[in-house]
Amino acid sequence: MRFLPDDAQRDFARSLDAMLGAQDTPSAIRAWAAGDQGPGRALWARIADAGVLALAVPERHDGLGPLPVELAVAFTELGRHAVPGPLVETAAAAALLTALDDRPAAAERLPAVAAGKTAVSLCPLSPATPYALDADAADAVLVVEGDTVRLAASAGPVQRSADPARRLARPRGGTVLAQGPGVAAAAARAAELASLLTAAQSLGLGRALLERTVAYVRQRTQFGVPVGSFQAVKHRLADTLVALEFAEPLLHAAALGLADGAPSAGRDVAAAKVTAGEAACRAARTALQLHGAVGYTEELDLSLWIRKARPLRDAWGTPAACRARVLAGDG
């Protein structure tokens, strides 16, 4: 056992972090929120160039995957930089198309997904999940209902999320892409991957929130001393770190479980999802409180991160659903 990212995984994360850090992601996020996907798609292309999307696509469709562990590592960095767009959904759609084993449908789209040319939104339509993320910005929108997968005809009107970079739509109409008993199982596997990668985003988001807040309280002074020298501030940040540090191994174990097709993978993903999601929410609350009024303004780039935490916590598995799943008897 060596339950740590290996050198290649670490280097991959570091190079993604460096690449994304050199981009102006806040501007891309703000543009995306305003309906201008240009900068976001440019970022998307760079992420694809780095090989991230290919990790979700099998080799036979010009990909490198599926590699859930490397995807989790990569999506942690995407979360750290709050990259906008249906990245999780595109990776999950790749898993769905792969699992459907409908060669033409997969062959038609997966090479373009791997290359970063196609963004896909995906939505398991139900009362609990009526919206498809960024459907208006996607090149294709897949809708799963029961044993059917549809390719939606249009995105429908967009609803704004509390996270301005999340654009929520109710996809309409379209044609049936696949139907039959295998669809639900394939969709469930895709949803597990989506849940895992959302958890990874939460973890990265939470780490970024913590790091920036630590940096802020070290330099901000009140009452003649750095705010970070107050014990109440220190302890709050310490608790935030504890929450994040114990979410990470759950995430990695869940990724390994998905990679191995372990029977407990569904439970492991649920455990990682709720823990990382709650840890990021805690980090967001900490960031908001310790930045004080400045953290409460949309001008501060960090507010883009703060507002992401809660929607990510609920996307692809609410805390209640995840906790129920952890105790569910089956696999």
Binding site: Q159, S161, L168, Q222, A232, G292, E299, P311, T318
Partner: protein, 389 residues
């Protein structure tokens, strides 16, 4: 010990309720933190004022009804229960007016208060500065003596509602030679459209320009707009911070109404066997009731001639945490619709849960962070050593 209202109080409640029934807009006004909403809320203040409901606790000569603190609480309960609009004059009414009552001249009161009561002049507060948030004694903006008045210079931040307001009030360093940082400050009122004032709106978390930054460059303020003695601004500002204000900054009526809306949401939309959500709804109901009762006890103490000093810190910590928990419960009850921004077409209850949630998140920060409130509780109520923290 009793919780009984007098016949007069009950009549006051009935009158308020009837008026609100007849006047509260059927469709919620647009968000207070937008230009359109600000105008609509200003108009609403005029409507309130026309029937003397805008400042019930003030003297009649200034537009009020001489209502007691308890009557004010009754009015607030009815006001929020009726789903009436937010109060755009809140900063003036709850921060500036009490200061004027205590330290203002009769001339100042007569000049400033009636237009405030009518919503004709909306006031913004100008306390914080970039380097003086929690640490208000670190203020740097200056008031320089000039012929017949003062010249204000410097920068103020987090000035709530200043994006659309008419005038502002705040503290300025007038006597830089003072021996301690919280001395040598002067409390002044100034127009936001004066020469030398630049107002830069700042969006809050949901993007609404709920604040502004103010840049002041030798803005002239006549002596008549100084409140209290020059150089005594800290004392003037603090003297009204601790008493009724600690009880009334956020009225119990607000949380009672929110808890009632939450309960209705739970009853209509939730799985009643989901005890995890049920417990959180119950806690919100209990918390709102506790806050109401705590306030009644505080009002009784004030009626006895007592004071609410550091106890207002208990209140601040309690309601700010209650408000967040209540709104987070609502968002969880709303499932996928809890994520929607308030202006989203499909946002439940016209987006008021989303706006309420955003607003609640600021609670532990403004009016003295909860960290500072806990220091005050520990030091002044429990007698723990001050220490360097």
């Amino acid at each position: 010990m009793d919780l009984d209202f007098t016949a007069a109080e009950n009549a006051f409640r009935a009158e308020a309720r009837a008026w609100l029934d007849a006047h509260v807009p059927a469709v919620p006004l647009p968000s207070l933190e937008t230009a359109e909403g600000f105008a609509a809320h200003r108009e609403w203040e005029r409507t309130l004022s026309a029937d003397r409901w805008s400042v019930v606790s003030w003297a009649e000569e200034y537009g009020g009804r001489d209502a007691s603190l308890l009557e004010w609480l009754i009015f607030e309960e009815e006001y929020y229960a009726a789903g009436a609009p937010g109060r755009v004059s809140q900063n003036g009414i709850s921060l500036l007016a009490p200061t004027l009552f205590e330290h203002g001249s009769r001339e100042q009161c007569s000049r400033v208060l009636p237009p405030m009561a009518r919503g004709e002049v909306i006031w913004a507060q100008a306390w914080s500065e970039p380097e003086a948030g929690s640490d208000l004694a670190a203020l740097r903006s200056t008031a320089e003596r000039t012929d017949g008045g003062w010249l204000l210079s410097g920068q103020k931040t987090w000035s709530s509602r200043a994006a659309f307001a008419d005038r502002a009030f705040g503290l300025f360093r007038s006597h830089p030679e003072a021996d301690r940082p919280h001395r040598g400050l002067t409390y002044l009122m100034f127009p936001l459209d004066a020469d030398g004032v630049t107002v830069r709106p700042v969006g809050r978390l949901d993007g609404k320009p709920a604040f502004a930054e103010l840049f002041l460059d030798r803005v002239f303020v006549p002596d008549e707009d100084v409140i209290g003695e020059p150089g005594q601004g800290w004392k003037v500002a603090m003297s009204t911070a601790g008493n009724e204000r600690g009880l009334t900054l956020r009225s119990p009526g607000r949380f009672l109404a929110a808890a009632a809306r939450l309960t209705a949401l739970w009853r209509t939309g939730a799985d009643p066997s989901d005890t995890a959500l049920r417990d959180r709804v119950a806690d919100a109901v209990i918390g709102a009731r506790a806050h109401q009762l705590f306030t009644f006890a505080g009002a009784s103490r004030i009626a006895d001639g007592g004071a609410i000093g550091a106890e207002s810190s208990l209140n601040k910590v309690f309601w700010s945490e209650l408000d967040i928990a209540l709104h987070e419960t609502a968002l969880d009850l709303l499932g996928p619709y809890g994520e929607l921004a308030d202006e989203a077409g499909e946002a439940p209850a016209h987006g008021s849960w989303a706006e309420g949630h955003t607003f609640s998140l600021a609670g532990p920060i403004y009016a003295g962070t909860n960290e500072i409130q806990r220091d005050i509780i520990a030091e002044r109520l429990l007698g723990l050593p001050k220490g360097r923290r």
